[in-house]
């Protein structure tokens, strides 16, 4: 129906009958226009060097070398010019109002402020339709047109489910004509936008919310719900349109792709420009990637004090970003190019050509601007090429714009000439001999466009009759074919101002006309060019194509990254002191062999050195299993807390792990090989954990431990009741420990009801019945009550610890781990009875009221009582010296060294139910190994080598070499930047970002600079 209407609209425009009445008589237009003698780039694969395009109305009716326009056609001579199909902008906000949020208040807004039958969350508004509010914005259209675009999808860029975009032609006539497809694309993002609602406050929250809304849609449609939800109705209406999902980082594409797979949708993506860093994950993708080409400007690096602080990752990105389109194309990813982020047509073309210099072919670049977008938008039958039968939307350039600098001369949209730029047709610069009334002067003209200037040489006689050469400035103006020259003469012929006006025939290098001499006489003049001055470069110059940049990508693409991904090795550690964490205890002069990612031998007996094994003499050194950090918040992007609601079980840290966090490398250097990345403690039931191995240089999927047990974070105490969030945060339930208890009971009741509903549904036969609504939050909560998901609960004082165990006992579930658990020592007996483990800090306290009774002997007491006790970091800095923290168990409470060591290795493995594969040195376990220079608990201990799954990921020797290698790489790129600075190219100043880290109580998507209150 929609398409019929569209078709009708289009035909209506060109059949002289109009929907819009016109005042006065109708302006007639020629039916046929022919563009001849042009280089026509018909499509990415076809160019006609000297051809003609014939258009009739808004359509191309003929294109080729031998086209004979009808007699009544307007014929435009395009000699020397290049015609290219109009580009299609797949993402923009032209002609649309800026999104407006509700007024900001310091008090949290828990519910939607949007009145009406809409979705409960303000960031889900698929009902926003761009076509309803589109108004022609001449300035914005012109800006796009100057870059070569003729069509654009425009949408209101706000929120997670953003609504639909409309496809417009960039003409100026009226909206009715310009809107080509009312609803062309549906837009999504992970950004909450202007919504002031507290939920979601993190990227993982955005992910969960979007998934829930897709489930809601399914249920709403299938169940033919009696409720009305305009948002879901509109979402349903649009769901068959092409998707465009906006991302801000390479990993976000993978995150969104997981959602697409879950719901069998096909997403196209707006990229961010660093996709090349994830090329292994993205290659051969069938989704179209829309690429911005606003490559980063170089930094101003003239001041070495400043330049030395620029992170290597940013330098590398500056160098590699222009290769992004090429690398993706090389790896078979369909790409579109967007003008997003471009300020001017010059800048846009500079970057298009930069992409071409880096290996993207002209055809590929053109395709990314025309045929690929047309295909994605399903308008390729009308747009994208200049083939016969397509719409007449194209741009005419002074030369091939992909090849070198060129000017846009005209833009034709749907058969109408929309822009005619004032462009000089002639290049007049050069040296001439000018003849005025028989007198000859040498003259030189330089510059182009409206910036022409000239010099003239006159010879006068001095008093002593010797000739005196004078160089005078010449004022030069060129308007189309007319040239005006004006200069002063002071010689034997004339004294005063000479004004000449003439016509230009640049082809022959000739000017001629007449002018006024200083004595008021009209004379004839002419000028003949001697030589063309050394003008324009690029057209003739073969621009160098350099495709070697992909070799410069490191994994990850930052300091200490690998130039190629390291692999598993077979290694024999000999003569080492081996802390096994097994019954054997500590072995002297022992051997550990690893092969294929597993430990194959531990002991002092006989062994065979496997083939190709690397043998490391570890005499005087210590070998242990890797440290496991039970409580960490590194390697997480855009929010560790989904604090918008009291229960956020639906969110998962696993959705937002980020493997290119330098802290992974730093922790490897402290012997850490695995960690539980926990949700924060902003609410009683937080989100799901990610159990990772610290695989530096790997992808987000690769660092997640396969088949890891499921965990969720719960929390009690001050953070949950928002005690330290300021006086404005006193609205969200709960605000007391009393309320916290009831959250758990309430959650349980809701789960019961939910499970009953589903049980009833499955029992009564699946057909005829309506499937109940899938609730992601309750799904995860049910797992807890079904003992399929373990709880790690943030806790401080004994009352709350006791409370949760009572809740658990009464609801028949178990708490797996209490984390922080600083007053665990007061209820260790009760904990033992419940069967819960403890993961605590060695000695932290005094940071908030509830740690008043925290004592560093806590771990020792709990250990003494027979609990499984771990020491965790919750802190990126402490994470890399957990061995020191474990050693404090010896100081505070007199633990044995072996028992203390287990607190950071075997015990956390047990708490995480990973002790069948990690936590000790035992044949068959994962080869997560650390080689230490000294007793690992001693203050002198340093890590010499850390292996994860048999791969050496930290090696102190490589680390030492990398320090200078990093500096060399920096120096290399900075010198390139300096070259660019010296050429006067645009640059930006550098400002160092403060390092931010996530802690338990960090809110929002940005890391915190605040003091850590855990």
């Amino acid at each position: 129906m929609k398409y019929f209407l569209l078709l009708f609209l289009l035909t209506a425009c060109f059949s002289w009958s109009q929907l819009i009445p016109q005042n006065g008589t109708i302006n007639s237009k020629s039916k046929f226009v022919a563009f001849k003698n042009a280089r026509i780039i018909v499509s990415p694969s076809k160019t006609i060097e000297n051809g003609t395009i014939l258009i009739e109305g808004d359509k191309i009716v003929e294109v080729g070398m031998l086209v004979f326009p009808p007699d009544d056609a307007v014929v435009i001579d395009c000699e020397g010019m290049t015609i290219v199909a109009s580009f299609i902008e797949t993402i923009s906000s032209v002609g649309l109002p800026k999104p407006n949020g509700s007024n900001h208040s310091n008090r949290p807004q828990l519910e939607s402020s949007k009145k009406g039958a809409y979705y409960w969350n303000e960031s889900i508004h698929p009902e926003t339709e761009a076509n309803l509010v589109y108004q022609i914005d001449a300035k914005a259209n012109e800006a796009l047109m100057k870059m070569g675009f003729g069509l654009a999808v425009t949408h209101v860029n706000d929120g997670i489910a953003q609504g639909s975009g409309t496809l417009v032609s960039l003409g100026f006539e009226n909206e009715n004509k310009q809107i080509i497809q009312a609803k062309s694309t549906q837009f999504y993002s992970f950004e909450k936008g202007v919504s002031q609602q507290t939920y979601p406050s993190s990227q993982m929250g955005s992910i969960a919310l979007l998934r829930q809304s897709f489930y809601d849609l399914k249920w709403y449609i299938e169940s033919k719900s009696s409720e009305t939800n305009i948002s879901l109705d509109k979402m349903h209406e649009s769901i068959t349109l092409p998707f465009v999902f906006q991302t801000a980082d390479k990993w976000e594409i993978l995150r969104a792709e997981k959602i697409a797979k879950e719901f069998h949708y096909q997403f196209n993506y707006l990229g961010s420009g660093n996709e090349y860093e994830a090329i292994n994950e993205l290659k051969n993708s069938t989704n179209t990637l829309i690429l911005p080409i606003n490559f980063p400007e170089p930094f101003d690096v003239k001041d070495p004090y400043v330049s030395r602080q620029i992170p290597l990752s940013e330098l590398k990105h500056w160098e590699l970003a222009p290769s992004n389109p090429f690398i993706l194309k090389q790896n078979n990813v369909p790409i579109c190019i967007t003008s997003l982020g471009q300020k001017s047509a010059d800048g846009f073309w500079k970057n298009v050509r930069k992409s071409i210099e880096r290996g993207l072919t002209e055809g590929e670049a053109l395709a990314a601007l025309t045929t690929e977008p047309a295909k994605m938008l399903k308008i390729d039958s009308d747009f994208g090429t200049l083939e016969k039968g397509k719409k007449a939307s194209f741009s005419i350039y002074s030369s091939n714009p992909f090849h070198g600098e060129s000017k846009l001369i005209e833009s034709w949209l749907l058969g109408d000439q929309e822009v005619m730029l004032d462009v000089a047709k002639h290049n007049v610069s050069g040296k001439y001999n000018i003849l005025i009334d028989g007198k000859k002067y040498p003259i030189e003209i330089s510059g182009e466009g409206d910036k022409l200037s000239g010099k003239i040489v006159t010879i006068s006689q001095k008093l002593d009759l010797t000739p005196d050469t004078l160089i005078q400035k010449v004022f030069v103006q060129l308007v189309e074919d007319d040239i005006t020259l004006q200069f002063n003469v002071d010689d034997s012929n004339w004294k005063g101002s000479m004004s000449l006006h003439g016509k230009v025939s640049s082809k022959f290098g000739v000017f001629e006309g007449d002018g006024l001499t200083p004595n008021g006489k009209w004379v004839q003049w002419s000028a003949i060019r001697n030589d063309r001055s050394e003008t324009k470069k690029s057209d003739s110059k073969d621009s160098k194509v350099d495709t070697s940049f992909s070799a410069k990508i490191w994994f990850p693409n930052m300091a200490y990254g690998f130039e190629s991904k390291p692999t598993k090795e077979t290694i024999v550690f000999r003569n080492a002191t081996v802390w096994t964490n097994e019954a054997q205890g500590i072995l002297k002069d022992a051997t550990v062999i690893i092969s294929n990612g597993k430990i194959t031998f531990v002991g002092t007996g006989n062994f065979i050195i496997p083939n190709n094994a690397k043998v490391i003499d570890a005499k005087g050194k210590y070998v242990t299993s890797g440290i496991i950090d039970e409580h960490s918040h590194i390697a997480i992007s855009k929010g560790v807390n989904e604090g918008g609601q009291a229960i956020s079980a639906e969110v998962s840290i696993g959705d937002v792990v980020t493997p290119d966090d330098i802290n992974i490398y730093r922790q490897l250097s402290g012997g850490v090989t695995a960690a539980q990345l926990l949700h924060g403690s902003a609410n009683p039931i937080g989100g799901q954990s990610a159990l990772i191995k610290l695989k530096w240089g790997s992808s987000p999927e690769e660092i997640l431990i396969p088949n890891a047990p499921k965990f969720i974070k719960c929390a009690l105490g001050e953070n949950v009741k928002q005690s330290n969030w300021g006086d404005n945060n006193s609205i969200r339930f709960p605000q007391t420990r009393m309320g916290v208890e009831q959250i758990f009971y309430d959650g349980y009741m809701r789960v019961q009801a939910y499970q009953n509903e589903w049980a009833k549904y499955t029992k009564s036969g699946l057909d005829s019945k309506i499937t109940p609504r899938k609730d992601l939050e309750l799904e995860v909560l049910s797992e807890i009550f079904r003992s399929e998901r373990f709880i790690t609960c943030h806790s401080y004082v004994q009352s709350e610890i006791n409370m949760l165990m009572h809740v658990a006992d009464s609801l028949n579930f178990k708490v797996n781990t209490f984390t922080h658990i600083l007053e665990g020592y007061k209820v260790a007996d009760k904990m033992l009875a419940h069967g819960v483990g403890a993961s605590t800090f060695s000695d932290w306290w005094a940071y908030k009221f509830e740690v008043n009774d925290a004592i560093p002997y806590n771990a020792a007491i709990m250990n003494e009582m027979g609990l499984v006790v771990a020491i965790n970091s919750d802190d990126a800095e402490m994470g890399r010296r957990l061995n020191q923290e474990a050693a404090k168990g010896v100081k505070y409470g007199g633990m044995t060294e072996e028992a203390a060591w287990k607190m950071v290795t075997l015990n956390p493995a047990k708490l995480l139910h990973l002790d069948d594969r990690m936590g000790s040195l035992k044949e068959g376990k994962d080869a997560d190994i650390v080689l230490w220079t000294a007793n690992p608990l001693s203050i002198e201990a340093k890590v010499e080598m850390t292996l994860v799954d048999g791969v050496i990921l930290f090696d102190s020797q490589r680390d030492y070499l990398m320090r200078s290698h990093n500096q060399q790489e920096k120096a290399r790129i900075i010198s390139k930047m300096l070259e660019s600075n010296e050429k006067g190219e645009e640059s930006k100043p550098f400002f160092k970002k403060k390092t931010r880290h996530f802690h338990c109580d960090t809110l929002g998507e940005e890391g915190s600079e605040e003091e850590n209150t855990h």
Binding site: V306, K891, L937
Partner: protein, 445 residues
């Protein structure tokens, strides 16, 4: 076992420390409690592994304390002492004696619970607050202090925070009936936070970014102006009206107060060196100094010491060596710049008890053990200006020292069995240990 010997009227205590098991320390603490009740006694520590604090050691050392002063420092093996002279004699049997460790640039005693505003007494309103004095807010009964002392940290520089000039610090002993008692050096210096030249403060505001360089120059000019004004005020023979802020500045120019300048970046450090020379500051000190290894010669020439950025902190730049902060003290040591360790940062009050282990880490990364000890004892005292009395175990100095069962810089062996502040025995237990014992008793039943 412990031996109590009474001679005549005088109660004499003889303690053999080797037999005092740390985990049976109750009795010992009880004893020390008794002893400390007596004022001004004479104490002899025998057969200790003596770390003087100045880099030297006496493997079997003897320390005699009288009138709250160290009266005697000798090699035990080569000195015969007279039993009669000493009220208390403690045979250390090889345990380690250290001078008091000192936590400079710390809010210890000025705050109790970070998250509870009512307990935070270190950040006053205003940009230029040289007149704000930490001394009078120092809480001698701080529970945090009791947990810091038991790891060998017996002195601290109570330091205000915030603003451009945060205020004036004082050097405090971690013992006393009130702040007057506890004061070691009143108003030792002002703390100036040098503006940051290249950091983005977290706003993504384009305007504020582009103006950053200009802002830095402006902020720097403002500091110069304030110091110019202060100097004129100092030199003025007659004042129309007294200015409480400027009064507080006078001592800075007269060499009676140090000027602690907090900064890390190279640009800042260079500018601070120029600034110190420009105003001819008698005692400038850089606090932080992350980039100080790049200006060692200048620092040496200008005689500016550095209180180094927390050893247990993360590198500040992506490509910096992972262990850079661990290694930094050794780099300055090597270059011959005067420096000490400090601990400013998250949870710095409670974390002051980990200062010995930060020195330990610095030792593991290139310093000798005695250099590491010096960096939290004598060097610090020299920098803050109390080295005539504190910082090392030398005759004539205040008897402020402690004994640890083993290496005090290693977590496993730092067990403080004797702590003496200005000749007075300190409890070697604290409420945390008492809670530990209380609950262990509960479970043992």
């Amino acid at each position: 076992m412990t031996l109590l010997e009474k001679k005549g009227q005088k109660k004499k205590t003889l303690i053999n420390l080797a037999t005092v098991n740390y985990f049976k320390a109750l009795i010992f603490i009880f004893l020390i409690g008794q002893i400390s009740a007596q004022e001004s006694q004479s104490i002899l520590l025998l057969n200790g592994y003596l770390h003087i604090g100045n880099g030297e050691v006496i493997e079997s050392g003897l320390v005699g304390i009288k009138n709250r002063k160290i009266e005697l420092v000798r090699n035990s093996l080569a000195y015969t002492y007279n039993k009669e002279e000493w009220d208390t004699i403690i045979d250390l049997q090889g345990q380690h004696i250290y001078p008091a460790f000192i936590a400079p640039n710390s809010t210890l005693g000025l705050t109790e619970i970070d998250a509870v505003r009512a307990t935070r007494d270190f950040d006053e309103v205003g940009d230029y607050n040289p007149h704000i004095r930490s001394q009078i807010a120092f809480n001698v009964e701080s529970k945090v202090i009791s947990t810091v002392r038991t790891n060998g940290v017996l002195l601290a520089q109570a330091t205000p925070r915030g603003g451009d000039i945060s205020g004036t610090s004082s050097i405090m002993a971690l013992d006393g009936w009130n702040w007057e008692d506890a004061t070691v050096l009143q108003d030792d210096g002002i703390h100036l936070n040098w503006p940051v030249s290249a950091s983005e403060s977290g706003t993504s505001d384009e305007v504020s970014k582009t103006n950053k360089k200009e802002n830095y120059l402006k902020a720097k000019r403002a500091i110069y102006q304030f110091f110019e004004m202060s100097k004129r005020y100092t030199n003025a023979s007659e004042k129309d009206q007294n200015d409480v802020r400027l009064d507080a500045m006078i001592a800075c120019f007269k060499g009676e107060k140090r000027v602690y300048i907090h900064a890390n970046e190279l640009q800042q450090l260079q500018d601070i060196i120029d600034f110190s020379i420009h105003f001819n500051l008698p005692f400038p000190v850089i606090v932080g100094g992350y980039d100080s290894h790049l200006v060692t010669k200048k620092l040496k020439d200008a005689n500016i010491p550095v209180m180094l950025v927390r050893t247990h902190s993360l590198p500040q730049n992506e490509e910096d060596a992972v262990d850079f902060p661990y290694h930094l003290p050794a780099m300055l040591q090597e270059a011959g710049v005067k420096f000490c360790l400090q601990n400013e940062g998250a949870m710095e009050t409670m974390n002051a008890r980990n200062l010995p282990f930060q020195a330990g880490t610095a030792m593991a990364y290139g310093m000798t053990e005695e250099q590491a000890i010096r960096s939290i004892s004598l060097s610090t005292c020299e920098i803050v200006g109390i080295d005539k009395e504190y910082g090392s175990i030398e005759e004539g100095k205040s008897a402020t020292l402690f004994v640890s069962q083993g290496n005090a810089l290693d977590m496993r062996t730092n067990h403080v069995n004797v702590a003496i502040i200005r000749g007075v025995f300190m409890p070697t237990s604290n409420f945390q240990r008492e809670l530990y014992e209380k609950y262990m008793r509960k479970y043992k039943k």
